[in-house]
Symmetry: C2
Subunit: 136 residues, 2 copies
DNA sequence: ATAATTGCAAACACTTTGCACCTGT
DNA sequence: ACAGGTGCAAAGTGTTTGCAATTAT
């Protein structure tokens, strides 16, 4: 099976590249439509699956079981996502602690942490002030 | 609104308590049915929502977007879940590194990590040997 | 030419909701 | 008695699949 280069695939990939943030399939479809490029739902899902397998995009799921979101990664991503379960904001953590985490989990648990698939849930600075972790 | 104590709620909660692991709604329904206690799908979902909000159970989602899984937490849980994206096995990490993580994210990012909601994705020992993190 | 891709509509799996009936207090 | 809970069937999500038409090589 060969991978053809098609108009749709280029559209989806460059849309992901141009909007370097997490987007749901629907957002991508709507965004492309707004730019005058109608790409079918089916095709967008198939592209995202393709890119995800090829390492060009990462797929994330979030805590409430909403739709999956995708983000351009170009094959190399180097930060974690911190997602607030209260206000749903997502923060990127770019600091070196991630490498310490990877080292720890690899050395003590034989586990290779995926930087792009892991999302740390909790409360952000603002929401953390008002709530404890009581009902977490 | 008052929360009534019903037979169904007790059944679901004690089933969660007795099987202290992650279970999907379907597993719970089937398990109860096998024990001779038919509780409707609707009710099980409503119970899980209720317990989750009350801090008696935690809801987890997994990397492939499959169904949500629930686990008894009794209001206090103290470990992370490491999930292998290759073989789908889930490992619990009970070690103290988690507290170091919490400290780090709190001190450097103002972020209060939820132990019960966070799942770390990656490759387990066995799967990590054969694959790199290439397509992650 | 022909293998792969597209897009529609229909199927899917999981979860939620409307509503009449039942149960706990 | 009556607020609240249950369960069925039906509706809703987000995502995937069968298939005929289309496109890339």
């Amino acid at each position: 099976m060969e991978v053809y280069k098609t108009k749709q695939r280029e559209l989806v990939l460059s849309y992901l590249k141009d909007n370097n943030r997490c987007m749901s399939a629907d957002e991508i479809i709507a965004g492309l439509r707004d730019n005058g490029h109608a790409v079918s739902k089916t095709t967008v899902y198939r592209c995202l699956e393709l890119f995800s397998n090829a390492g060009q995009a990462s797929k994330f799921l979030n805590s409430q079981g909403e739709s999956a979101v995708y983000r351009y990664s170009g094959g190399h991503d180097s930060h974690f996502h911190l997602k607030c379960t209260e206000c749903n904001k997502t923060v990127c953590a770019d600091c070196g602690f991630i490498n310490r985490m990877q080292e720890h989990f690899y050395n003590h648990h034989g586990f290779t942490v995926s930087k792009t698939h892991t999302v740390i849930y909790g409360l952000c600075r603002d929401c953390g002030r008002s709530k404890g972790e009581t009902s977490e």
